[in-house]
């Protein structure tokens, strides 16, 4: 008998129906994967179970008895613990306090600081070795790297013993070793009889760890089957509803005919970077690889004027400086980060207002001419097949993937010479990824020079013409041609480490 079932779950946000008919049945000792395109309603289903979203309809049964979940606290009391896609951490509190936030150990009504540290230590133990040398339980969470934060959220989810664990894209910022440590812990919990819900857009992970997969499309559960009885292609077909596109995990592209040199970087040094040098040609997609947080993002941010840097930069043969993002934009740089919440979406404002700012800046416009801009906005939104309910709708009404498309669109209104992509597909579904990489390639073919960082090796391999492997802020190897293999990439990353 399933431990928990959700039937006919329904949830609407105004006109948007986030979840039409969500079904799921969780069994003890089973790892249940939910897959679905961006905006298909996965997070909504999970949040309903975790009590932070109030369903408009449906039935939840725990051990055969119908229940209502009145809030996160109630869910917690029912034994449901969740890892939030957007994390639920307090930046100014220590790691230990965050891990135990639900229930700080107390003695005689006062917080027992020793017990806090001791218990947090115990909960975090499985991730200690992969968390990095600079990691400390007393550190402020705000001072941690994104991957470390995800580990803390994972530990927080495990802390305090629940029977049902939900993980909504827990690995999106983790590197391989961290992911493995996490999976070991999942296995242990499974063995103890916990039910686990797991959401990821990474197909390999899903097959590596899952027992059963439920696919959601447009808010409806379309299938649920043991993973042993299904295939990648079938899942993808179910997710996109029939037609399957090409795979993002294809072989590396053929070596391109290099265009003229676009950007030359020599001896670039910054807070996190050590003596980085390379050249980037027009029409080329240059990948940045290596373990997580080795300076790839820092390089991209530095090139966008977000971090002070030393070294010489040459663009189209002329030396340049990049003191601010605005200067970088003027020089023809564009930047897209996977961290939409803080770096991308101008939340609360319309799609229109999210697309036009770069254009307005570049044209030094004073007035916003809605009439002429609207056609342009619709054009660039159409390039990416962005699904939206009108360009004046707030961007927050879109799913993560569609928000990302809107943000990419802003760089397509005018010419962008060098596009800096900082893990741009983080938390984006397969179908959208495919579209996105096809677009990136077509942009390169039109002569754009592209620097691409991805936390997924397969993505990097499938889409980069060359790959610079980073370690501790420096480039340790450059992979070209037939060297661009998974083995080589992993070896280069780990050998230097």
């Amino acid at each position: 008998m399933p431990q928990l079932t959700m039937t006919d779950m329904y949830k609407a946000y105004g006109a948007t129906v986030a979840l039409k008919s969500g079904q799921i049945a969780l069994h003890p000792g089973e790892l249940h994967v939910i897959m679905g395109a961006n905006g298909s309603g996965k997070s909504t289903l999970c949040k309903i179970l975790a009590g932070s979203v109030k369903p408009d309809g449906g039935r939840i049964e725990l051990n055969g008895k119908e229940i209502t979940i009145s809030g996160p606290k109630a869910a917690r009391d029912l034994g449901v613990s969740i890892f939030y896609q957007e994390l639920s951490l307090s930046k100014n509190r220590s790691v230990a306090e965050n891990i135990l936030a639900r229930d700080l150990p107390c003695r005689a009504g006062f917080v027992d600081r020793k017990a806090v540290l001791a218990r947090a230590e115990k909960v975090f133990a499985p991730f200690r070795d992969v968390a990095g040398d600079d990691f400390d339980l007393k550190t402020r969470v705000g001072d941690l790297r994104p991957d470390q934060r995800q580990l803390v959220e994972i530990a927080k989810t495990f802390a305090g013993g629940a029977r049902i664990f939900i993980f909504d894209e827990p690995t999106s910022a983790l590197d391989r070793a961290q992911t493995e440590a996490f999976f070991r812990e999942l296995d242990r919990r499974k063995a103890e009889g916990a039910s686990i819900v797991f959401i990821s857009h990474r197909m390999e992970e899903v097959f590596e760890i899952g027992d059963r997969v439920t696919v959601i499309r447009d808010g409806e559960t379309v299938s649920s089957a043991p993973l042993a009885e299904t295939t990648r292609d079938r899942i993808v077909a179910e997710m996109v509803g029939g037609e399957t596109g090409a795979s993002v995990f294809a072989d590396p592209p053929a070596a391109p005919v290099p265009g003229p040199e676009k950007l030359r970087v020599q001896g670039l040094t910054s807070r996190r970077l050590r003596d980085v040098s390379f050249t980037l040609h027009a029409g080329e997609v240059l990948g940045l690889g290596g373990l997580h947080g080795q300076g790839q993002s820092d390089l991209l941010r530095a090139l966008f004027g977000l971090e002070p840097l030393d070294g010489t930069l040459t663009l189209d043969g002329a030396p340049i400086t990049l003191p601010s993002p605005r200067r970088a934009i003027r020089q023809g740089f564009g930047y897209i980060s996977g961290d939409r919440q803080s770096d991308g979406a101008i939340s609360g404002r319309s799609i229109f207002e999210n697309v036009v700012p770069i254009h307005l800046f570049k044209t030094r416009a004073f007035f916003v001419n809605h009439a002429t801009l609207s056609a342009e906005v619709d054009r660039v939104l159409a390039i990416l097949a962005t699904r939206h309910g009108g360009r004046m709708a707030p961007i927050s009404s879109l799913s993560g993937g569609n928000q990302q498309k809107v943000i990419i669109s802003r760089w397509l209104m005018d010419e962008t010479g060098v596009l800096l992509l900082d893990d741009p597909t983080k938390g984006i579904d397969l179908a959208t990824k495919l579209e996105l990489f096809a677009l990136i390639r077509s942009l390169a073919d039109k002569g754009m020079a592209i620097l691409l960082y991805s936390s997924e090796d397969a993505e990097l391999l499938a889409n980069s013409d060359r790959i610079l492997v980073f370690n501790n802020g420096a480039v340790v190897q450059e992979l070209q041609g037939n060297d661009r293999t998974r083995t080589q990439l992993t070896r280069a990353a780990f050998e230097a480490a």
Partner: protein, 315 residues
């Protein structure tokens, strides 16, 4: 304009009308055309201050300007001295006022952007400085008088039976609507109010934009100071004192939440009117002051229940 931005304006407008009717019932004469005109003048004074306050609040990052009262008082003093009762001095006085407002607005803006002092703290500190400056300035210079032209502009019917200040206010209303809806600068205000880091990556000069908001707030306060000088004839210490919190309330009653990134000025204009009508109505009631305060406080709370209540966490 979407319904979400329009709703508060409708509510506030409805409440103004309701209060006027209630006023006319309780104390006949309250809704006479002359009285409506006079209340509108007082609302215009508040509304002009609230324009700057509105911009600063829209810009987000806890934007707020508590120093408006100080700027108003100082600019009224400066203007009074420059014109000293003479029409010929009007233009220099306007320029001097705008300069005063811009300078203190700039200081606020730099403190908030360069030093990253929270706006509430920065402008509160600036208010203290301005109050001190006023004492020093008043010791050194005479208080000065409004030019007759300025007084007429504020309180005498001029075009189509309306005094100039109402036309000015309408003009400011149009300018603000244009600024916020049709210009790149306006869009940038909303962008930094909604998500500053993202706006920065999208090419918005965040510091410059935010600094400009404080400068504009200073300038609007200074213009209001000039008009208040015209309204009261002569400048006196602490003329601007009452505008600090009432300008914020006018903005909120007009449907712009203090969290920024959302809202507009049309609502604020009605909010200013609403506040002035409420206060005027209370004045005409023949009751104890304690009763007036209790009613005013309760009425404010009830009015706030109509507006910008933040959304719950469980959606």
């Amino acid at each position: 304009m979407s319904m979400a931005t329009f709703r508060p304006i409708l509510i506030a407008g409805g409440l103004v009308v309701a209060l006027m009717i209630a006023g006319e019932l309780v104390s006949p004469g309250f809704a006479s055309p002359e009285q409506i005109l006079r209340l509108s003048i007082v609302a215009a004074l508040l509304g002009i201050v609230a324009a700057g306050q509105n911009l600063v609040i829209l810009g987000g990052r806890e934007g707020i300007d508590l120093s408006v009262g100080g700027v108003i008082s100082l600019s009224a003093l400066v203007a009074g001295n420059v014109m000293n009762g003479l029409d010929a001095g009007l233009l220099p006085a306007i320029l001097a006022c705008v300069a005063v407002g811009a300078i203190f607005g700039l200081l606020n803006g730099l403190g908030v952007t360069l030093l990253r002092i929270p706006p509430l703290v920065m402008t509160l500190g600036m208010l203290g400085v301005l109050q001190g400056l006023l004492v020093v300035a008043r010791n050194g210079i005479p208080s000065g008088r409004a030019a007759p032209m300025l007084s007429d502009f504020v309180s005498q019917p001029q075009w189509l039976g309306l005094p100039g200040i109402l036309w000015l206010w309408a003009l400011i209303g149009l300018a603000m609507a244009g600024l916020l809806g049709r210009t790149v600068f306006g869009q940038r205000i909303f962008a930094i109010g909604a998500n500053e880091p993202a706006a920065r990556l999208a090419g918005v000069p965040t510091r410059l934009t935010r600094t400009m908001l404080y400068v504009l707030s200073g300038v609007f306060s200074a213009i209001a100071g000039l008009c208040i000088l015209g309204y009261s004839g002569s400048s006196f210490a602490n003329v601007g004192g009452q505008y600090m919190l009432s300008s914020i309330i006018a903005v909120v009653l007009g449907g712009t939440p203090l969290s920024g990134g959302r809202g507009g000025y049309t609502g604020t204009m009605i909010g200013a009117l609403l506040l002035v009508v409420l206060q005027g109505l209370l004045t005409t009631l023949s009751i104890e002051e304690s009763g007036r305060q209790i009613i005013f406080g309760s009425a404010l709370i009830v009015l706030l229940l109509f507006y910008g209540r933040s959304s719950g966490m469980r959606v």
